[in-house]
């Protein structure tokens, strides 16, 4: 026997045997599908831009045709890696932002605000400017920097367990330290190395190859399902640690698991695409308001992240004669969008 029931803004489904049941919000499903379609369109449109202009159908035939044709080579070896890096980094930033904002119960506590991007940046700049990397590539350095910073924030915030508030405060401190360390390294670096570092620091999708795509894809395949698996507990963590524990949530293991998974997503994305600013902060907030929820939905936040990064990259490459790094546009676009959403929410009385 199956039962489908629509009440208020939820659809409930139940099977008699096996005793499976669940609820979903049609609006959230609709928003997610629309976001996925938009992301796919931007993904294809982005690949039409370049030294050799192409139409969308050129791109599609290049994608699915052999790589021996001219277009096939350009699409498969040059444009597809760039578009995939943007798509995957956007997904990772968006999902990770939703995770951090949920476990700290604070919309400001995205990974870029609590120092994880900054830690990755410090490691990479140290590598580019001074060759500290010991032969490790930018990707590995960014990854190590991001993960170590996340662990440092968690360890320093630990006092008989951690609270979201302490993670945010410690994170802001770590963010400031990493930023000044990066600035110090830049001021001591040779001018060419400093310029190379800055090109990476603003977040850049130029010259991405498969070596940027594969590790990020692997990270998403492992970490995204892990985050989804832990998300059932995120809904109780939102009520505060004590309430969550009272409802049977293993608070500290779940929080550490989510923190590491979220940091892993950001670290891999930063390693591949640079610390693209504002995506992890704004994407979950945009998704939350589109779906009219009280907390950021993970999948929709990830898709919003992809839309923001891919859209910004298209703008960055078409707005001016010489292409801008994508991070300049996400910063310039993301911040006012967030302010607008906040202002609109305040006026309608539903709060920010």
């Amino acid at each position: 026997m199956s039962l489908l029931q629509v009440r208020r803004d939820r659809v409930t489904f139940r099977l008699g045997k096996p005793p499976v049941s669940g609820r979903f919000r049609p609006r959230l499903v609709l928003v997610s599908v629309v976001l996925a379609v938009v992301a796919l369109v931007l993904f294809c449109v982005g690949m039409t831009i370049g030294d050799v202009p192409m139409s969308v159908s050129d791109v599609l035939s290049g994608l699915f045709g052999g790589s021996d044709s001219g277009n096939g080579y350009i699409v498969q070896e040059l444009r597809l890696p760039r578009a995939l890096t943007g798509l995957l980094a956007g997904l990772a930033f968006g999902a990770s932002g939703a995770v951090f904002q949920t476990i700290t119960r604070n919309p400001l506590a995205s990974p870029d605000m609590i120092g994880i991007n900054a830690g990755a940046a410090t490691a990479v700049v140290a590598g580019i400017a001074f060759g500290f990397g010991g032969g490790l590539g930018t990707t590995t350095l960014g990854l190590l920097g991001g993960l170590l910073t996340a662990l440092l924030v968690y360890a320093l915030a630990w006092r008989r367990g951690t609270t979201g508030y302490r993670i945010l405060l410690v994170g802001i401190g770590i963010f400031a330290m990493c930023t000044s360390l990066t600035d110090y390294l830049l001021s001591k670096a040779q001018i060419t190395e400093a310029q190379a570092s800055i090109g990476w620091l603003v977040g850049n999708l130029a010259n991405r190859g498969w070596e940027h795509v594969v590790p990020l894809l692997a990270a998403l395949v492992v970490l995204f399902p892990l985050v989804l698996a832990l998300s059932r507990w995120m809904s109780t963590l939102l009520l505060g640690d004590d309430v969550a524990a009272g409802l049977g949530t293993p608070v500290q293991p779940v929080r550490l698991g989510l923190l590491l998974a979220g940091a892993g997503l950001v670290a891999f994305a930063t390693a591949s695409a640079g610390p693209i600013s504002f995506v992890a902060l704004t994407a979950p907030q945009i998704a939350q308001r589109l779906a009219r929820l009280s907390s950021p939905p993970i999948t929709a936040s990830a898709l919003t992240g992809a839309v923001v990064v891919l859209g910004s990259d298209i703008i960055a490459r078409t707005l001016t004669a010489s292409p801008l790094p994508v991070g300049v546009v996400t910063g310039a676009l993301g911040a006012p969008l967030l302010l607008w959403l906040l202002a609109r929410a305040n006026r309608s009385g539903s709060g920010g």
Binding site: S21, R23, R105, L239, V243, A245, G246, T249, S294, G351
Partner: protein, 267 residues
């Protein structure tokens, strides 16, 4: 069916500051127990340890003879509910949503919203008279309605034992009475064991069957309100001289403090 809750040789410390040492306690099943005492006497610490939010250094809390710190947290959450002091719901979360979260200990991957979840939420909303407000955001409610919504969440959890940490704090008098009457309803209707920390002594005497008075991490006295709340005990525990007279409405002990500017009348 109502489980027993027992505390044995409990010692709780924050780092090296010992708050509770050698405490033994039996919570009367199916009754309302109020824990009273001055600030920093360890009453909230005791309640939080009962709810396994704090881990004792030694000794333990036993639910039907088994230590709650050894049982899986989910199993404990199916039998013992806790409402912490002044909880905060995320902005925009509706009452129905909040109350629904109370079902978390009964849900699993494949069973996320069963008919019993649905029924428990409906019954909790009715018991707390919140059915009409179910779709309103919690942050837009009045203080009393908000506290009722949180209690409704704990009710939906469907635990035979309910622990409440200062459920009336920050509420005006009307809402305090509202919430405490609701607690009595919950106790009477289904025989739930209720343990709550209260500040107001006359209220504790009115609403509780059993009163535990604490000072400096120890239990000074426990028993029925009339046995426990005496002039000498209030002097010992709160360091306040007072007169205790029967409450003209309920007949339970009522504490009238004596202070420098209000000395006891000379007969």
């Amino acid at each position: 069916m109502t489980p027993s809750l027992r505390v044995q040789d409990l010692r709780v410390a924050y780092d090296d500051r010992v708050v509770i040492d050698g405490l033994n306690l039996d919570i009367p099943p199916g009754r309302i127990t109020a824990i009273v005492g001055p600030n920093a006497c360890g009453k909230s610490t005791l309640l939080r340890t009962l709810a396994r939010l704090l881990t004792p250094e030694s000794g333990g809390v036993y639910l039907d003879g088994r230590s709650i710190h050894d049982l899986p947290t989910r199993q404990v959450a199916q039998r013992l509910g806790i409402l912490p002091q002044s909880p905060v719901a995320p902005e925009g979360m509706t009452v129905a949503d909040l109350v629904g979260r109370g079902r978390a200990p009964h849900q699993s991957w494949w069973r996320q919203w069963s008919t019993s979840d649905e029924g428990a939420v409906r019954a909790a909303l009715e018991a707390t008279e919140l059915t009409d407000l179910a779709d309103r955001p919690v942050d837009e409610l009045s203080g009393g309605q908000r506290q009722r919504a949180w209690i409704a969440m704990a009710v939906a959890q469907g635990t035979p034992v309910l622990l409440l940490d200062e459920p009336t704090t920050y509420l005006d008098l009307a809402h305090q009475i509202d919430v405490l009457d609701l607690v009595v309803d919950l106790n009477r209707a289904e025989g739930r064991t209720v343990v709550m920390v209260l500040h107001d002594l006359p209220q504790a005497c009115r609403y509780a069957d059993h009163v535990i008075a604490m000072k400096a991490g120890r239990i000074v006295a426990s028993g029925s309100p009339a046995e426990v709340i005496t002039e000498s005990l209030v002097d010992e525990v709160f360091d306040v001289r007072c007169q205790v007279t029967p409450d003209p409405v309920s007949g339970t002990p009522m504490v009238i403090p004596i202070s420098r500017h209000h000395p006891a009348p000379v007969n």
